[in-house]
């Protein structure tokens, strides 16, 4: 018996060329699904003590400490990101600290695939698959948003701005689909403005 080896969902895909954005899979992140009650001071303190960061309590935000990040998923749910190699260690530390506290922590590193989009065309490209106004000022660096993207469940994390770096999380089984969708729609630079004033079409 050999140990299970991590194989990324998109490892067989070639590096795309000729796209309006830079596209790559991020395979180095471990992910922990953490649930608990934000108004339970014991829970918040135990998490802080283990991860050295405050869990974000405002909707659609994130916090970071070193190479650990916490993304807000719901009023009682967070996605903790860490170096993949440290996942086990952090998970057991979390479980240790959360003993006896109403909570839940589980390793979901292989549940989702992270696709990183880089460049100023990242937002217009993502706009083609969602109903959000990604061009508005609401979507600043640090913003996390779960959404329906190209008909599938996904999560957006605006990592940084100017130039845009955006992580798109999709469930692993949808990785190929999402990748193909981005390839198909990322070829042409097209200005999409779903919100606000639109130029009238040429007659």
């Amino acid at each position: 018996m050999s140990d299970a080896q991590f194989e990324s969902a998109l490892q067989s895909r070639e590096k795309p060329t000729g796209l309006s954005v830079e596209l790559r899979e991020r395979t180095s992140r471990g992910m922990i699904d953490l649930r608990g009650l934000p108004d339970d001071p014991q829970f918040m303190a135990a998490v802080k003590q283990t991860l050295t960061l405050d869990l974000p309590t405002a909707p659609r935000t994130s916090t970071a400490w070193g190479d650990i990040q916490a993304l807000w998923l719901s009023t009682d749910q967070w996605l903790i990101l860490c170096p993949r190699a440290r996942t086990e260690e952090l998970l057991s530390a979390l479980r240790q600290a959360l003993q006896g506290i109403h909570s839940f922590a589980v390793d979901v590193s292989d549940m989702r695939t992270i696709i990183r989009l880089e460049g100023d065309q990242a937002r217009p490209l993502l706009l083609k698959g969602s109903s959000l106004d990604l061009l508005s000022a609401d979507y600043e660096a640090g913003t996390v948003r779960r959404l329906r993207f190209a008909e599938i469940a996904a999560l957006l994390h605006i990592v940084s701005q100017k130039p845009d770096v955006i992580d798109l999380y999709v469930f692993r089984s949808y990785a190929d689909y999402a990748w193909d969708w981005l390839l198909a729609n990322g070829r042409v630079v097209a200005e999409v403005r779903q919100f606000g004033k639109q130029a009238s079409p040429a007659v």
Binding site: S74, T75, R148
Partner: protein, 117 residues
Amino acid sequence: MLIVHCPVCGAEGDETDFHYGGEAHVARPATRDPADVSDAQQRDYLFMRHNPKGLHFERWRCDRGCGKWFHAARDTMTMEFKATYGIGELPPRELMKAATGEWAEFFKDKLAKGRKA
């Protein structure tokens, strides 16, 4: 397209980001012994729903956002969302007052009492 606002996380989006969950405020017949629930009561609980023209009260889920259930007051003619409110709450008083038909009947004693569901 319906524009829906989640009262839990504040997310706003079209109806494809949300999920419709049937009629609001359907109460299970309360009893300690299932045998005490009459067939008529059970039928009403399972199947009988309002179908008003105008103001209606529904359950929705912030499907692709925070994942939480909430309540919505929607006009079935104009499709306009009049309000969204917590899953454990009653509608704003002015909407309970504006309700007609079976809904008006349903909210009558709740209007007389406080706001807790």
